[in-house]
């Protein structure tokens, strides 16, 4: 399952790249304490004020274009920079492989509940969950 976000900033890709890869710059926006060797195979440690810590390995680092980190929990984050009129588009995709099975199953159970005629005693998925699935499918 993926979470995707995008912004356009007025700075050029090489300036944004510095903010994505230099530890002291990352400490201004990503985490409280950052160690990162932004080269393929390089390691990263990110700490937050609440005691949270995440470790990562750099999978890809194409200067001013693309940075991919693999988290130690199996997830990953892809940061892509693209020059656009007036600045740079920053595109982020964070994914967690853990959610895919749960989502597939839920899609199946919704299909099943839609295909079934409603029975007096039968309980189908509540509308709230159906809405959540629709939102996901549209995302």
């Amino acid at each position: 399952m993926n979470v995707e976000r995008e912004i356009v900033v007025p700075e050029a890709p090489d300036e944004v790249w510095e903010a994505l890869t230099e530890p002291e710059r990352l400490e201004e926006w990503f985490a409280t304490e950052v160690e990162l060797d932004a080269r393929p195979g390089g390691e990263g440690v990110f700490r937050w004020g609440d005691g949270d810590e995440r470790r990562a390995v750099v999978r890809e680092a194409e200067e001013a274009e693309r940075l991919v980190l693999d988290w130690d929990d199996g997830g990953s984050v892809v940061l892509e920079l693209e020059p656009v009129v007036g600045g740079t588009r920053v595109h982020v995709v964070e994914s967690s492989p853990e959610y895919a099975p749960a989502l597939e199953l839920h899609a199946l159970s919704l299909e099943a509940s839609e295909a079934r005629p409603p029975t007096p005693a039968g309980k189908t998925a509540p509308p709230q969950a159906a809405l959540a699935w629709t939102a996901l499918a549209a995302a």
Binding site: M1, V3, R5, I7, V9, P10, E11, A12, D14, E15, V16, A19, R25, E28, W29, F30, V90, V92, E94, S96, E98, Y99, P101, A102, L103, L105, H106, L108, S109, A112, S113, R116, G122, K123, T124, A125, P126, A129, A132, W133, A135, L136, A139
Partner: protein, 123 residues
Amino acid sequence: VDGARGGVDRVFAALGDAGRRSLVEAVAARGTATATELAAELPVTRQAVAKQLSALADAGLLRATRAGRETRYEVTPEPLEDAVEWMVSVGAAWDERLAALRRSLGDYGKSRDTLQPRRRSRT
């Protein structure tokens, strides 16, 4: 977030086994099912199916209701809600981070411009 992740980890562990996963899929496809019904169409004993169904109910993936002498199972939507919660919280975290990135880039540009001759990297 930790609570949601814990729940999802449990779901994931329960689904790590291909046999269990196909069992949940079989329940999902039927809507509701008992161990006897499933054993009739799967190459496993009723006892083995009953044991797996009970483990899946413990993991929160199936909801069990007594129906006479048998237990009837259906798929629960809650694990999905955990996944949605994860998506919402990770999305909110990125919204905050990207806003902070934008501010940080702006601040950095300003401080650099006051310290050095103005440099535009876009020509």
